[in-house]
């Protein structure tokens, strides 16, 4: 639309009162349909089914997910806007976290928050004329493998991330080696693992080793969810990862800004993901410094 001249600016926005109101509960109730007959509700149960199947098919489980939860919390502790800023999480805290829907503990679940996010898209020519440095959309890929959970055979991967990621990388003309950081849709810890696995950062079952040693944390070799993400900052659907990717490339992230202060490379390219249903739809978006 922008290139065709049909509009000059597009705002992508999201807002919700999930915490103070019941909007998120209404969304999840509508998703559940007749599954509630069996006591199956919302997203936690569906992702728990996916994660359990993954535990059966390859090496994964709480030891892997703990590193994701704890790593992202370290980023949240650098982000004054994060709901969990000021609250540290150790591995022991994770282990003590209450079981919700096994295999998930509370610490594997994203937050329910109030808030909103927006970003504005325009032509690069116009963006270069504005006050802040622009960020460029380098590549985009989508893949939506199924509308129905019971019909799904890919809950342990490959999810839609496999094809969406390959498409986005091809469009951007880069490989994973060129990616400086990832902002991954993280409704649950397992979602981060299966998404990175399907993008090809590691093979099935290699996640526990890949995450070990603070890979995704401040100073790690592949920073992931640098705002704290949906697990520790705020749940704003796909705009949690997308806006953080944009803000990092603009250099507007304060104490958590990737660069010398965090012990990371100053980012040129950031990969963002979005995901819907129970791993039923996926979008990958590669952003570059403009």
């Amino acid at each position: 639309m922008l290139e065709a001249g049909l509009c000059s600016y597009v705002m992508i926005s999201y807002g919700q009162s999930g915490r103070s109101g019941d909007s998120m509960m209404q969304v999840l109730a509508a998703l559940s349909g007749d599954d509630i007959v069996y006591g199956h509700f919302g997203a936690a149960g569906g992702y728990a089914l996916a994660a359990r199947r993954a535990m059966h098919e390859f090496r994964t489980g709480p030891e892997t997910w703990k590193q994701i939860a704890v790593g992202q919390r370290k980023w949240a502790n650098l982000n004054p806007r994060a709901m969990m800023c000021g609250r540290a999480m150790t591995g022991e805290d994770y282990d003590r976290s209450a079981l919700v829907v096994e295999p998930f503990r509370l610490a594997d679940n994203c937050l329910v928050t109030d808030g909103g996010r927006a970003c504005i898209v325009t032509t690069l020519e116009r963006a270069r004329d504005l006050r802040h440095p622009p960020v460029v959309l380098m590549g985009l890929g989508m893949h939506h493998p199924s509308a129905d959970l019971a019909g799904a055979r890919y809950l342990a991967g490959p999810t839609g991330a496999r094809r969406a990621g390959a498409t986005a990388l091809r469009m951007a003309g880069i490989t994973l080696d060129d990616v400086d950081a990832c902002e991954i849709y993280d409704c649950f810890t397992y979602t981060v693992e299966i998404t990175l696995q399907d993008y090809g950062f590691f093979g099935p079952g290699e996640g526990e080793d890949w995450f070990r040693g603070g890979t995704i944390e401040p100073g790690g070799r592949m920073p992931v969810n640098t705002s704290g993400g949906q697990l520790s900052e705020s749940y704003q659907m796909g705009l949690t990862p997308l806006t953080e990717g944009v803000m990092q490339l603009m250099g507007r992230c304060g104490e958590r800004q990737l660069g010398p202060a965090t012990g990371n490379r100053t980012p040129e390219i950031i990969l963002c993901s979005d995901n819907g249903g129970i791993l039923q739809s996926h979008a990958c978006c590669i952003l570059g410094r403009g």
């Binding site: 349909g33 007749d34 599954d35 509630i36 007959v37 069996y38 006591g39 199956h40 509700f41 919302g42 149960g45 728990a48 089914l49 996916a50 359990r52 199947r53 535990m55 059966h56 209450a98 079981l99 919700v100 829907v101 096994e102 295999p103 129905d148 959970l149 019971a150 019909g151 799904a152 809950l155």
Partner: protein
């Protein structure tokens, strides 16, 4: 005692399934065009788009594709059942069915374990298929 949990909504695609449940028969759809056995019910085949649909009786045997153990009652009516098991059962005919696993300790469940249907007549007009570890 009245049944306090949610009941299935009646929709036309699933009527044959619900009627089968009352007779303790697990019915799934078979495409008259390509023979594909499917669940959930739909008015056309997701493989070949044929509207020629038959209903066939499934054996009621299958394996656990995956399962989740609920430790929180998102609806208070389920509180008495905690912890309870929701499972995706892979029927031996092929389709997967979301259901409950009953009659065994949640800690004893594993993926791919053999299970069989057990009928729960929750009201006069609704019977639900749940599954338990297969005998023998």
């Amino acid at each position: 005692m009245t049944y306090g949990k949610p009941l299935p909504k009646i929709y036309s695609d699933a009527r044959e399934f619900r009627e089968g449940c009352l007779e303790h028969e697990l019915r799934i759809q078979k495409c008259g065009g390509c023979g594909h056995l499917r669940w959930p019910p739909a008015f056309l085949c997701p493989r070949c788009l044929s509207r020629d649909t038959q209903w066939v009786r499934a054996s009621g045997r299958g394996t656990v594709y995956s399962y989740a153990v609920y430790h929180v009652a998102f609806d208070p009516a389920f509180k008495e059942d905690l912890p309870y098991v929701v499972a995706l059962v892979a029927l031996e005919e092929g389709p997967h069915l979301l259901t409950n696993l009953v009659g065994c300790d949640p800690g004893a469940v594993s993926c791919d374990m053999a299970v069989e249907v057990v009928w729960d007549d929750v009201t006069e007009s609704v019977s639900l298929p749940r599954f338990r570890p297969a005998a023998g």
